[in-house]
Subunit: 797 residues, 2 copies
């Protein structure tokens, strides 16, 4: 039944296995140039700047060498990339670590605990401030843009020169988008898109290169400001989540590697375990700031990332979320001159429900579920279109200028449409960004949902007037249909371009549009339209259905929607709609984020092992043979193994002795590449006579200072004399790595691996002899296909 | 620093270690009568019926034998009881299990998945129906009671005989409480209290005897109806959570052991892993029905029980919660004649906020936090009083009749007070249950919070009238103060009596009362009382503070409160208040549920190992020596080991061979007592010549049929001939139990144990030889005391 071929050929390419014998003395130079360890410039999820890779004609080595360009992975979802490494969620409990922990008193632990709370508070405050900054800058830039266009219209309309104003508008939009697009493409391609897939990967335990760096944050913030101010069909919510995560990763380390500034604080948190926990808090704070949904933020973090639920951790995450919403509200209340009014949280706000119009009845439940199904189908359609578009962009290497052009086109279309729609509606105020009018108008006088920005706009007289123009029922179904269609195409086209932009707001807009259309249809069908068929209600349900159909989040999205609407009455319908949308959508295709994760060949671990994987045991899953070291290892051997770029292992079991034919013996520890590099850098060598060469005892601090950007092995010079020295690994290795016997079933291995967030799991036989090593890629390779269990291949790069 | 003594003396009393050699041939009869394995009648948390245990004078063995009464654990929080066993959250992946899993096709797994959803839907429906049943019966019983009293008042008031009506009222209340108390005390003592501590233990992985049985459910439901109808200072919310859990445990097994009815469905779910997941869903459904808070329910389950967050599981739990709220709403809407109106969920409902009165300002945040601190202090006071009261009740064995009397007194006092307060208020309608009037009146015209029941009451004319009597500001501070004080004492006294009753509603009432008092104080202090100092708002905050101070739940309680108020505006203040209350309260004493768990000496595992436990390793923590079996073991040896009631082990490592001096060799599996008992029962013996005696191959079904009430070893007769046979354990043992080396630090052991929900963890040396076994009790023993790490002792029983 299970469609498995015994793995033979990949072992040499797996992250943590060596093709050779117990202690292979490999030549460290071969291939070092060909496979540079850090592929700088090869960001994840940036689509526009990719080099052309033709799947049918593999580039030969000569060509490759000539091009001298980081080879991109071929973006085939049946492959797993070797580019992504795992985070080490499991502490390496070596002697240094244990000594430190044992030295710490109870008061010391209390201090660390208090520091954690302080860090979470800082994360919340900074994330909230960033959200404020984005909001205020976007508002002002858009204001400038609108006033320029308005001035132009006022001057030209009498002369009939509306087309010139239109061109001006388009030119301004294009300029914004051009700037936003260029910063992202040339400075930090990983800042493209919403950032949610990357954060999802990070929380899953994948170290995505450069995803939590300061540069990424700066580019992201500038990029999203430009995209939104440029009037693209995008939202600023997704990027907020990414921003929160970067803030968390930065603050918790108490230093900035980019700025070369070390504040010498929070040194205890300089390891993957703590960092990942803080990044969860940061992502939650981002959600909280974006949607005004602190509980939704916590659930988002847990749904996407949690291995193990811990009450105190959850509580801290919640605290960060809360502080973030609070900061945002407070600063915005000052900015808007209503100091201290904290009752309208979040960048997006669906407004308040009036008590009379919120009731729903039992017979509406099936209607809602039908809408959920429609949302699921439309979401699947959106995802499929975006999938093929992405594949197309990757395969035919859409050049940058074309991307930029299409971005600008994307911004022009709404402008053109806005004018046409508005002239049709006989309104005279075409100065507000089209989709803001549209969304606000969709929900017109009932004001079930409206963008905060639109609400702000309404404060100035000329926009307040517009509200009255759009009277009840004045919105005609044809316009709604046109809006849905055009916006669907635009949003689908935009997601995946080199701009920082989220997909939440476009999805909500599309859903609200067809939801309202549906509502109008209902009220036409129903005899008495006034009692129950309120189109505004259907707009809300439609928005939920569409968003659920695209992103397929479950519990967290429900809570986010409920918190953003500010009313729990619609909790039940929203849940039902999201559930229906997910079930229907999953029948066709995966969620948008999962598609993009797969296309990047990330070794993503799901919650459970594939159902039919009980037929596999650790013996089949593991990589073998394994490169091992002995407790007292020759420096030359270590340098050679680390330099061997064709294997590029990150974890090495330490064994007590080797057999005569070079096979590893009993396991006595596990040491990481990063630890070995620090040891080599500090030259912690022992001469043959067991006298320590380097007198200074290495401390945990040395490892923390090097974290997280450990130097590459190439940068460490080891002389020929030093190569003959020995290194004593006993003190630095993790003496108690988790091990499993060979006969362990794959679901059991998977559960252990996933629940504890492991990076390496040693497989031993009944004598505790090392026989293999299980890493993330070994487990992520297996997935359920149409013909039962399938095995993915590892990509060449 | 760590205050640890090397353990020597307890090893013989640990759950899973033997005092003897590798395969001790102990006489299975000694002590079997003295320590009956199932201590029937010794429920958890029933306080009234305990036999007098004097801590100072230990009962000698002779006396013990004479008494022939199950010895109660001495209820000292420094002890751990041996009565409680662990759940096996980790599947025993033996050959039978793996064969079944491998036989199952992809479609088969789909079916199981669909069955899980069906079970969750059923859990939701049944829990909702039970909530409806309780609600409707209470309402009708109370209605009958009130009409009788009202009739009496109408007849006697002219003659001034109000005291007779008062006596009648008290007598009726007493009758209800007497009935409720007796059912609980005589039929199922474990049904006493709210049931939340028991469910918390169950979700933590402790098998609490009889907690999820049908009988418990029936007694609980009847008990809570009587308590609430009798006018005790109790709520019906806690018991709903317990009820939901019992429903889940029952339905998921597809049979009732009590009714001897097997529906032959859901057989796949007959193991601890699946059952515990369903019980989580049941508890969530209970919360959801009680508070109309589906998200709060999910978070409650996760906060109290989750080891490992799984998206699909969470989603299913959410589904059950949702269905439960829906069922409750739907049935109640029919009952109240408003079919299909689903917008007021839950048994309790805090009513709607009016948009104008909900705003709060920045300067109110410190006031709210101050109220949180007051709530924390009052909560700690409540918990301390209840703690000493419980200790007193246990130590001096308060006889049943006194308990009953005090229960009745508890019910009389509010009646007396009601009349006095009401006469003081010069109101003429003293026929409504006092605390319902009180609570409703506390929040008077602003109607921020009111009990659903009170709202229902208001539908009948005479109660509607009362609403107008209690005009704005008519509630005087003296009455509020009196109410807070008397209700505080009453609620504190009531919790721990042999009645089924929750502490949520009393806490909310107390908090609302002093909160309103606080609000009145504020508005007196403030110059313009109309603008911000709305006492109703402070009543809500006070209620949250008091409840948070008593139960110390965090995220879940916030969400429950937000969902019950139906408005997210107060999310932030409620969070802050709960956080402050928890921090302040934790400074003094633990939460109420934790206190009662500790008093019952339950081996409860917290989220993390104590901070300073890095100094301990598995070698110190484990129990040793361990009773092991060999793969092919003599039946007599197994029977003797199982019959040895002085050790009463539940898990036995299986080793490949024994050394000459009886020491166990390399580990090759782990077998459970329950599995051995099934094997013995079916006589799966092999003669010396290795021919199988019993021809029928044992199947997984045989184990599932026996689950969860495996017969005691005493009930299995093994003849002298059979004792000489052998048993082949290979097929039935778990061949890949999790193992750790001896040097593993305690936090690492703890994390593995807790994250995977283990029951036994085998400690091995470098040769994979069994050296010890870690069980729940070994880990739960260590806790952080005032002088660093402390070690608890194991109780004698």
């Amino acid at each position: 039944m299970a469609n498995i071929t015994k793995k033979v050929s990949w072992s040499s390419r797996d992250e943590d296995s060596a093709p050779g014998e117990g202690t292979p003395l490999l030549n460290g130079t071969s291939g070092a140039e060909r496979y540079p360890r850090k592929m700088s410039g090869s960001g994840m999820f940036h689509i526009g700047r990719l080099s052309t890779v033709d799947l049918e004609e593999p580039i030969t080595e000569q060509e490759d060498a000539l091009l001298n360009w980081p080879k991109e992975i071929p973006h085939n979802e049946k492959l797993l990339s070797l580019k992504y490494e795992s985070l080490d969620y499991d502490n390496s409990e070596n002697q240094l670590f244990l000594e430190e922990e044992r030295r710490m008193s109870f008061v010391g632990f209390r201090c660390v605990e208090i520091k954690r709370w302080v860090v979470c508070a800082l994360i919340g405050i900074l994330t909230g401030l960033i959200a404020c900054f984005i909001d205020i800058v976007v508002e002002n830039l858009a204001g400038v843009k609108y006033s320029v266009v308005k001035h132009s219209i006022e001057n030209f309309t009498e002369g009939g020169g509306l087309s010139i104003s239109l061109l001006l508008w388009a030119a301004l939009n294009s300029a914004f988008i051009m700037v936003g697009s260029c910063i992202v493409a040339y400075f930090e391609p990983i800042a493209a898109g919403s950032g949610i897939p990357q954060i999802k990967c990070y929380l899953n335990g994948v170290k995505v290169p450069r995803v939590v760096r300061l540069k990424t944050l700066v580019v992201k913030v500038c990029g999203v400001i430009c995209s939104v101010a440029g009037g693209l069909a995008v939202g600023k919510e997704g990027p907020m989540i990414h921003s929160g995560a970067v803030v968390a990763a930065g603050i918790s380390q108490g230093r900035s590697t980019s700025l070369k500034k070390d504040f010498k604080i929070f040194e205890y948190f300089r390891r993957d375990t703590e960092k990942r926990d803080f990044v969860s808090a940061g992502a939650a704070a981002g959600v909280s700031a974006a949607f005004g949904a602190p509980v939704g933020g916590v659930l988002f973090s847990l749904e996407e990332g949690a291995s193990f639920w811990n009450q105190m951790l959850t509580w801290r995450i919640f605290f960060a979320s809360m502080i973030s919403t609070f900061t945002l509200n407070f600063v915005l209340s000052i900015y808007h001159g209503k100091i201290g009014d904290l009752s309208s949280p979040g960048l997006i706000n669906f407004g308040r429900f009036e008590s009379e119009s919120v009731e729903y009845y039992l017979y509406e439940i099936p209607i809602f579920m039908l809408m959920g199904a429609i949302g699921g189908i439309l979401g699947a359609l959106f995802n499929s279109c975006n999938y093929w578009l992405t594949i197309f962009r990757i395969r035919y290497g859409v050049p940058l200028c074309l991307c930029l052009g299409s971005s600008m086109l994307g911004s022009k279309t709404p402008a053109v449409e806005a004018v046409s729609v508005i002239s049709k509606e006989r309104s005279t105020v075409p100065v507000v960004g089209f989709y803001k009018i549209a969304f606000y108008a969709l929900l017109n006088e009932r004001n079930i949902i409206f963008l905060n920005n639109a609400a702000l706009f309404c404060r100035t007289p000329c926009k307040g007037k517009m509200l009255h123009d759009v009277a009840s029922g004045s919105y005609n179904p044809l316009t709604l249909g046109l809006f849905t269609l055009s916006y669907f195409i635009l949003a689908c086209w935009t997601y995946g371009l080199t701009v920082s932009a989220g997909v939440f707001i476009p999805s909500l807009l599309i859903g609200a549009a067809w939801g309202r259309l549906f509502g109008i249809l209902m009220s036409v069908l129903a005899a008495d339209e006034s009692t129950w068929a309120d189109p505004g209600k259907y707009a809300l349900i439609g928005a939920a259905a569409q968003l659920g159909g695209i992103v397929r989040m479950t519990l967290s999205l429900t809570v986010i929607m409920v918190e953003a609407t500010g009313n729990v009455t619609y909790g039940l319908p929203i849940m039902l709609v999201l559930m229906t949308a997910k079930i229907v959508g999953d029948y066709f295709i995966e969620g948008l984020y999962d598609i993009h994760i797969k296309l990047q060949s990330v070794p993503f671990l799901h919650w459970e092992a594939p159902h039919t994987s009980h037929s596999l045991t650790a013996r089949e899953v593991m990589s073998s043979p394994v490169t091992c070291f002995s407790r007292m290892e020759k420096v030359g051997v270590i340098v050679d193994v680390l330099s061997n770029t064709s294997t590029n292992h990150n974890g090495f079991p330490v064994v007590s002795e080797f057999t005569d034919d070079g096979e590893p013996g009993k396991i006595c520890g596990l040491i990481l590449r990063s630890q070995l590099i620090v040891l080599l850098k500090h030259k912690v060598f022992v001469e043959r006579a067991h006298s320590r060469l380097n007198q200074r005892k290495l401390q945990l601090k040395d490892f923390r200072d090097a974290y997280p950007r450990f130097p590459p092995i190439q940068s460490i010079h080891v002389s020929q004399d030093e190569r003959e020295c020995m290194m004593d690994l006993t003190e630095f290795m993790n003496p108690t790595p988790y091990t499993v016997p060979q006969e362990t079933s794959m679901p059991r291995v998977f559960k252990l691996f996933r629940a504890l967030g492991l990076r390496h799991l040693v497989v031993v036989d009944s004598d505790n002899t090392v026989v293999g090593l299980v890493t993330r890629k070994d487990l992520a390779r297996y997935h359920l296909g149409k013909h039962g269990l399938e095995e993915m291949q590892l990509s060449q790069t």
